[in-house]
Amino acid sequence: MTEMMNSGIELMLIGMGIVFVFLALLIVMVKIIASIIQRFFPEQPVSATSPASASTSHTDANVIAAISVAVHQYRNKHKGTGKE
């Protein structure tokens, strides 16, 4: 019994140790990779707003309402077929 508890405590210490060492190493590596990429292979971050959303403002509200109805109905019909 006490022996098993001792094993358990040892397991706890080793286990938490490994978890921390492993994730600490991961932090170091993530940082190294990030700095390498930012220095040598910089990427242009893509902006989240799509150009499509901008052009929407020019269409009048009635049209948009109609479309949302149509898409809604289409989506429902779509679901209804149970094929996709």
Binding site: L11, G15, I18, V19, F20, L23, A24, I37
Partner: protein, 374 residues
């Protein structure tokens, strides 16, 4: 007449045993929790149904030649949990974690729930009627990882007899995260701490997202090969998604494949909810230990976040530490919600996703330790 008697003797009414009836009721309870209470229905519904099916007398649905017996092979071989882990990997976005890598420490700290529970399980041996081997204790402890496929994988290797209660406990407590965590989080933090706003996360490049799963797998191969099946399948799914060139495969892994395997896995787990395996004092112990594991994990995550906040240049809201237990994405949502209570303009969701996915990695690493040393 003989036929009528034979028929009567082949009815469930004639053959039902008390424990079977109780286990069917347990199955119905799980269905109730899944459907009416919304407890992880994707898993608990098939698990509950599997429990009902496998406790029907005579039918032998979970015995040699029955469909649940065949499906169980998918768990015994590790295939089902690993495929689910692959799908989860494909659904995971490591972006927030890569933007703020020190949140990995929060995912590490929360794994203390696992190892504390291991000791707790061993301590329960003092109570007469409870008898847990070191393997059993390790399998129970993994509930604290708050990760379903990892728990099922480890339990199927170390203590297949306890698989049913362990899986049920793991998924139930994951569903209860919104109830379990907030009181602990509030008790361990001050109002001011909960109000802390964090800096906006930088944008992470696709290259970093592609390299990360490969790096994680390499590290696991070098240091902890016993975690490599879990980590590897998770990274495969994640790579399929982040690389952008195999969208077909990534979508299939996230949808049809994971759905099919979820049905099969749930039924197969349910087939282990037999009276023999479940109606024992040990099951109560497992349920109690599972709750404790979640509490300790949450507490350690929060405390770690408080410590890091002390020493960090940029502010860290301790609430996001609670997300370190994993239970993706529930725990991150809880952190966000508790944060909003104190500061209605403070959206912690993305900040909490970092420790949240770190918790998945952390528990896979802990699983590797248990599989290699126990």
């Amino acid at each position: 007449m003989d036929n009528l008697i034979a028929l009567w003797e082949s009815t469930g009414l004639y053959n039902f045993t008390g424990p079977q009836v109780i286990m069917m009721l347990v199955g119905f309870l799980l269905l109730y929790l899944a459907i009416k209470k919304g407890f992880e229905p994707l898993l608990l519904l098939p698990i509950g149904f599997g429990a009902v099916l496998s406790n029907i007398p005579i039918a032998g649905i979970a015995e040699e030649g029955g469909i649940l017996h065949y499906l169980y092979f998918g768990i015994k071989s590790g295939i089902f949990p690993l495929l689910i882990f692959m799908g989860v990997g494909a659904m995971t976005d490591f972006g927030p974690m890569l933007a703020n890598p020190k949140t990995l420490f929060l995912g590490a700290a929360a794994q203390f729930g696992i190892f504390a529970t291991l000791l707790g399980a061993l301590a329960l041996n003092l109570i007469p009627g409870m008898e847990f081997s070191l393997q059993d204790a390790a399998a129970i402890a993994i509930i604290g990882g708050a990760d379903g496929p990892t728990a099922i994988y480890v339990a199927s290797k170390l203590a297949p007899d306890l698989l049913g209660p362990i899986a049920v406990a793991a998924y139930s407590y994951m569903a209860l995260v919104p109830l379990i965590q907030p009181p602990i989080m509030r008790a361990l933090t001050t109002e001011d701490e909960r109000k802390i706003e964090m800096q906006q996360l930088r944008v992470v490049s696709q290259t970093e997202k592609i390299i990360f799963p490969l790096m994680l797998l390499t590290l696991s191969a070098l240091l902890l090969p016993s975690a490599a099946p879990l980590v590897g399948m998770f990274c495969l799914g994640n790579l399929m998604n982040s690389c952008g060139v195999v969208e077909r495969l990534s979508k299939t892994a996230q949808n049809e494949l994971i759905n099919i395997v979820t049905i099969f896995l749930g039924l197969a787990v349910g087939s282990k909810l037999s009276a023999d395996a479940f109606l024992k004092a040990e099951t109560l112990g497992i349920l109690a230990l599972g709750a404790i594991a979640f509490c300790i994990g949450t507490a350690c995550g929060v405390i770690m976040a408080k410590i890091m906040n002390k020493f960090s240049d940029t502010p860290i809201n301790p609430l996001i530490g609670a997300a370190g237990v994993s239970a993706v994405p529930m725990a991150a949502r809880v952190a966000n919600k508790v944060g909003l209570e104190s500061n209605p303009h403070n959206f912690l969701l993305m900040h909490a996703m970092g420790p949240n996915v770190a918790g998945v990695i952390g528990s896979a690493v802990a699983a590797g330790v248990l599989l290699s040393l126990v």
